[in-house]
Symmetry: C2
Subunit: 371 residues, 2 copies
Amino acid sequence: MSRFHAIYHVRCAAADVAARAAALALEQSIEMPLAPVTSDYVRDEIVARVEGCAQIAPGVHAVTLALATATTGGEIGQAMNMLFGNCSLQDDVTLVDVALPDDFLAGFRGPRYGLDGMREAVGAGSRALTMTALKPQGLPSAELAALCETFAGAGLDIVKDDHGITNQAYSPFAARVAACQAAVRRANAATGGRSVYAPSLSGGPRQLREQVRIVHDEGVRMVLACPMLMGLACFAELVDELRCPVIAHPALGGASRIAPPLLFGRLFRLLGADATIFPNYGGRFSFSRETCEALAHAGRAAWRDFRACAPVPAGGMSVERVAEMIDVYGRDVCLLIGGNLLAAGTDLPARSRHFVDTVRRLSSAPQESAR
Amino acid sequence: MSRFHAIYHVRCAAADVAARAAALALEQSIEMPLAPVTSDYVRDEIVARVEGCAQIAPGVHAVTLALATATTGGEIGQAMNMLFGNCSLQDDVTLVDVALPDDFLAGFRGPRYGLDGMREAVGAGSRALTMTALKPQGLPSAELAALCETFAGAGLDIVKDDHGITNQAYSPFAARVAACQAAVRRANAATGGRSVYAPSLSGGPRQLREQVRIVHDEGVRMVLACPMLMGLACFAELVDELRCPVIAHPALGGASRIAPPLLFGRLFRLLGADATIFPNYGGRFSFSRETCEALAHAGRAAWRDFRACAPVPAGGMSVERVAEMIDVYGRDVCLLIGGNLLAAGTDLPARSRHFVDTVRRLSSAPQESAR
């Protein structure tokens, strides 16, 4: 019977880890004591097994469980339930890695477009992509659209909504999307470019269906969504309904209980994120450089036939760090700079063009002509 | 303009808290530096404000922010985004409490049935309710149904699926629900009782719609759902579609980044959970007694016209602790005991009846006759 390994980090004394690991295995499978279970099938094929415990630091142990694939029901919500449902309630456990098995993965298609599909959408050859965000929320749709036109006019590949701009009274979704789409069309007509506007999708299934309809009707060519806010299974269905690339945002994803490379890299990619925004090291957030590199690797590494999910390092980035980021991440990346462009005030167009030009200069293949 | 207070606990040095709080206020509203914002409306009405910082322990500070209600768009996913979207990625912050304002709350109905509606469903007068769980997953539907019939025959008010039993190959939803519903009907016919079977709903919107249809077709009278797995807005819509009470399970809800009384008590109640399962102190989980009492209070306290959400202390409870739990929680509670009943092996019916009888004896109003 198919099993797969999940690695947890457990905080406890070395003398306690064997018992703790055994309890974790029960919690994440049958959720009851083993003794009363009389079914051989359940004992042999369903109960999770402890495959190993290794102390990795004083009071911290890597525990490997072998979970039965059948318990996932082939569904991502239930897979998360078995991986981290109950033990998320226990503050001594973090979920670090999962080696999802082929029979589970066969039910997923991964990114529909991937990094290369996003490049194609904006005519970016093989260089790194540039992204910015419409901010601040509270501006009326007309002003967001004007900002959108400015950014697209400066050559930014992707102008997304700030993830906090959803369907509020000051910029309701339908009107905002129409205005920003028109703005980006005007900018592209003026520059000959192919910048895209990516609105932020939100709400429950009913609101999302309505927003997908508007997105398709308005000819929107990319969207932003927050998988942990809407629910992973809901996100997977959304990807299925959409006819354009999807950028995932890590809102509500947590700092460390589920390792960022696993959640924002591997799992978001599995569910169909074509790009994954994450807090870059040295910004407003506290992810380490190692974590960020592991996240980018999870997004891009060869994995079955899944397309690459573009890493989007973000969170307080600046134009001054572009060279460093291209150095660290290479050209298979989308750089997101929001507040730092807006901070330029009236110099916003110039700083935006500087961002765009720097990325092109540092990441275009030599034979690609400048646009 | 309407604002509401959110209280965070921030870990930092006292010398840093003013700056940290100011940064948090920006992160949870405009998500950009304040200086470039020229709009008076955004500065005055949208940017979150720091209302206070108070050191509550060495290196821990309670920071109160006043968020603009308009930023929530009146929608729970977006409210969670503004409350804890980005700062969930920062490991020095926890969300402790929120005083949601009336203009936001007016968009929610809370529990459709509440504790009293659940009592009515099972004919429980004003006593405490009894709940157990079908376990382990891996058993075929016929065996789960037999167990269901045994539990209902012993007088358990509610027999729910283990939250890990969803739609796996060994007990697919439709067949399992049909079998368990028939089982509980047989038991009720034999005892004259009104026990209910509560299946576990799961998956994305498509699967949930199908499961709701089956639930209604089969005459199921109560269900279980995991709001954090399916997404809060998705859960709210599910409650809207259902014609029976909903028990919420805290899977994937985390141990402490969002305070349990707020998440599993207040917010689950707001979205329509008629009962909320949580890990009781002294069981397999680490919630303190204080946390559990605060959670029960959040579920039951008078709050606008919202019905009470029944607290369901669980997670390794035993029949031996019934008296203690009725003493701590009173009779406005539903006691959930799973593994401890199954551990009785062949004595399961007797231990189940003992559980049922003890709860009735200790929590029935004197004038209520024994059933």
